[in-house]
């Protein structure tokens, strides 16, 4: 996948992006650390490390609040995409932080 729009639409990227957005916006987590980790992930290894930390930091909150959470298969797919072009994967995940949270929109706009 060589285009950002293709990577952005990938279901695994979408799942990670949604989780990242929740972790960033939720008042109890406000995960700025993952924001910085992700922004500085220049290689597939650094991206893998950033994602690993992100999952570990927010796993408990995700379970408690019943967030949609990425599984192993999605993690593998994201890492496979990152091997091709890490910058596109990073930008695509970061993009999801800009979307409306479903709770902020009128009813009927829920994701998934």
């Amino acid at each position: 996948m060589s285009r950002l729009s293709d990577v952005y639409s990938h279901p695994s990227i979408k799942r990670f992006g949604q989780a990242y957005r929740r972790a960033l916006r939720d008042r109890s987590t406000q995960d700025y650390a993952s924001l910085i980790d992700l922004e500085n992930a220049e290689t597939p290894e650094r991206l893998a490390e950033a994602i690993r930390r992100f999952l570990r930091r927010n796993h408990k909150a995700a379970e408690e609040k019943n967030w949609f959470w990425p599984g192993d298969q999605q993690l593998e797919e994201v890492m496979a995409l990152a091997q091709e072009n890490v910058a596109l994967v990073r930008a695509a995940i970061e993009s999801y932080a800009l979307l409306w949270e479903p709770s902020q929109r009128a009813s009927g706009m829920k994701e998934d």
Binding site: R3, L24, L88, R90, A91, A92, E94, S95, L99
Partner: protein
């Protein structure tokens, strides 16, 4: 009848001449059943006026108020008034008035000649008797324009009287001069690809009032491109048959050094990706343009300039680097809990990602 404004290499002068001729034909046409249409055909702008009968008597007609108003210094807030004082900003007040009347008399002198010929190519002569104003085209300013050895000055750019008059009236009617305190003037021209004169005037009226406190001329050009694209989107969404097409926005700035005005940054902004999105997928484009206009508005307020600069960079050069910068800046505002009026939907953000080039 059709006319060809051959391109001379001075981009803004050529665009202004095309608008100027369209304006002249529109005001002078006795038939008034159609509006002149400007088309970019590569080496020239073709101005087409089917059944056109331009005449001096029509121009001189007392009821033709449009022509008289075109040579009146109007309120700068009025979108349809001619911006003569901005165009001749490098001249004294007395010279401005003289030049304005000179433009009018030159056009009135040539209009019957135009009618006599069904098709004519207008090639400017650069050894003419009139000086090209600097506020019309920044390349007209005196100074060093190429490599010279020993001699570090060159004269003013001179052109023939008719092309000079066409350029001046086109510049005054079509140029968008935005005065910005402490920066001078930001000058913008939408470059026509296929535009009818009446559509151009209508769009100018609709978009003229939307201006902000700009950080740079690029910021002004990027904002204007979004405002223009949004208007064209609305036309496309409403199913209007005539949707004008523009290719670029030409921009430059003028700043004052002591008593003299000098040209600053200049360039052009490619409108194609935005207009393609606006006219082909108007429903998806609405969400994108809402967010971008909000970012420009919010970014024009002190303390939020990074929002405007990031979106300006992205619109000017939609690369992965500028896209990521826009995302990161905007994310920080959202993450810190600032109330944000507009955000992307999933589909509208997909349209934005499709604009990103693979550079």
């Amino acid at each position: 009848m059709q006319f060809w404004i051959t391109k001379s290499g001075l981009e803004i002068f050529d665009v202004a001449r095309a608008y100027g001729l369209a304006a002249l034909l529109s005001f002078a046409d006795e038939d008034q059943s159609s509006s002149p249409e400007i088309k970019d055909v590569g080496t020239a702008y073709r101005i087409n006026l089917p059944n056109g009968k331009p005449s001096l008597s029509r121009l001189k007609d007392r009821g033709n108020t449009g022509w008289l108003e075109a040579f009146t210094v109007g309120d700068f807030r009025d979108p349809l008034s001619a911006q003569w004082n901005c165009l001749f900003i490098t001249d004294t007040a007395g010279q401005r008035e003289t030049k304005r009347f000179s433009v009018q008399s030159a056009l009135e002198k040539f209009v019957d000649d135009l009618r006599a010929r069904e098709s004519v190519a207008l090639v400017p002569k650069f050894d003419g008797e009139e000086t090209l104003p600097g506020a019309l085209d920044p390349t007209a300013f005196k100074g060093l324009r190429g490599r010279t050895r020993g001699q570090y000055s060159e004269g003013q750019t001179k052109v023939d009287r008719f092309n000079w008059a066409l350029g001046c009236v086109g510049g005054a009617l079509a140029g968008r001069f935005v005065y910005q305190r402490n920066a001078g003037y930001f000058v913008l021209y939408p470059m026509p690809e296929s535009v009818k004169w009446t559509d151009f005037r209508e769009l100018r009226q609709e978009t003229y009032g939307e201006r902000l406190n700009y950080l740079s001329v690029q910021n002004a050009a990027a904002h204007y491109s979004v405002v223009l694209a949004e208007r064209l989107r609305q036309r496309a969404a409403s199913g209007l048959s005539s949707t004008p097409r523009y290719s670029n926005i030409l921009y430059f700035s003028l700043f004052k050094t002591g008593n003299q005005w000098k040209p600053g940054t200049a360039g052009h902004l490619n409108l194609q990706p935005l207009l393609e999105l606006a006219t082909q997928r108007p429903n998806d484009a609405e969400g994108v343009f809402n967010v971008w206009r909000y970012l420009f508005r919010r970014g024009s307020v002190r303390g939020n300039e990074d929002l405007a600069l990031a979106i300006t960079d992205f619109i000017m050069h939609p690369t992965l680097t500028t896209y990521e910068r826009h995302v990161r800046v905007f994310t920080r505002y959202i993450a810190r809990g600032t109330t944000v009026e507009f955000q992307y939907s999933e589909q509208s953000l997909k349209e934005v990602t499709a604009l990103v080039s693979s550079q």
